[in-house]
Symmetry: C2
Subunit: 212 residues, 2 copies
DNA sequence: CGTTGTGAAGAGCTTCACAGCG
DNA sequence: CGCTGTGAAGCTCTTCACAACG
């Protein structure tokens, strides 16, 4: 089981497991069975056992999973048991909010540099980070060991931002701009777009109405 | 095909199609084939044709899809061809950012009321909305025709917020709190959590590294 | 002729059911 | 005995391939 291709859906669920496990840990729970965890995450218990089995054998038969240990194991499996240095492109409202957002460093992602093209923004200092001209990215990213790029530009400038980030050497991108990006196959891109959730809730509300 | 169960994944993709179609419309493109649209969305072209076929026959054989018409049809299919009144619970940093976020009303979701428990926040006026005590929710939600609840509380207060919203009569919930909610089966819940995208990009970067 | 709409085949993911083990 | 880990079955979603049609 160790070396099979891991479903994309599994990765999404691991984030949920971590969230729920951390909440159990706050409540001083030490052990949990796949059945209990499954209920808290609203999934099937074999789903959980199978998801975890992709990465190793973390449970104890007849007992369950030790929570602290499991959190550590999942984080190691995902590669978030360390700090990832990030660079942000686009210092508008959203970009500034991201730079100030405490949860991002708390998850291990530290914004080390910020870039923009607008001369009014260059030179601003936000949370100790000075906003720089995008033209300096190729010198700054390697020197600060940045591996992840955040894009928070308007949609029409997102592709340009992606090109600069990749050219500068980032290995993956998280984009908040409502635009699809063209990138080499070896550069993972994650699209953060919560309008999709707004649409979904509207659709499912209508569906419930049609059912009744 | 009209009345089959619609895959959850289809709903997610429709949001992408709308995004790309709107960008094509900005560029004054009027017609697009499923093949062209597929490339722009990074999906297979039969996927697009099948997704659209769940809701009707929107294309013209030998020609493609008229973009303006298709956008309208998709929006009608999702139920976002109208305004949805929303109420927000939790007026911290995130809650205030949501209230000021222009894209939410632009998508047809209008925040009509905001609630919090903190006496320091009650009475604040943000974007013309006065923050009220959560105890008033049951009177306010029906009178303002609110159908959707937004939760932006800390995780430990999210369930309480959900209970209040549902009790007050909302039909669906979009939550930004990192916590799972227990709700009746007929109340759709959408979990907005971008930490999941941070985890995913880290995982896929590591996977690329192991490949090479 | 070109592109849609769709049954059928294929791939991938989820659930079942139980052997294996502490 | 209880709960995990996992092959096999079942199900859903995706892709193929082509008839239908403007």
């Amino acid at each position: 089981m160790k070396s099979k291709r891991i479903p994309k859906a599994t990765i999404g669920r691991l984030a949920v497991y971590v969230q729920v496990l951390e909440s159990l840990r706050r409540d001083r729970v030490e052990v949990v069975s796949s059945e209990k965890l499954a209920q808290a995450c609203s999934v099937n218990s074999s789903q959980i056992r199978k998801d975890l089995a992709y990465f190793g054998e973390f449970g104890v038969r007849g007992v369950g999973y030790y929570i602290q240990e499991l959190i550590t194991s999942i984080k190691r499996s995902l590669g978030i048991d360390r700090v990832w240095n990030c660079a942000l492109v686009g210092v508008g409202n959203l970009g500034r909010a991201l730079m100030k957002h405490r949860d991002i460093p708390r998850k291990g992602f530290v914004i080390k540099a910020a870039f923009d093209c607008d001369p009014d923004r260059i030179g601003l200092v936000i949370k100790g980070i000075e906003v720089m001209c995008l033209s300096r990215i190729k010198e700054v990213v390697p020197s600060l060991d940045v591996e992840v790029g955040f894009i928070s530009t308007p949609p029409e400038r997102a592709q340009r931002a992606a090109n600069f980030l990749i050219e500068a050497g980032v290995r993956g991108i998280v984009t908040f701009a409502p635009a699809r990006l063209e990138v080499p196959a070896n550069i993972p891109v994650e699209y953060v777009d919560f309008s999709h959730h707004l649409y979904a809730v509207a659709f499912y509300i209508n569906q419930e109405a049609n059912k009744a």
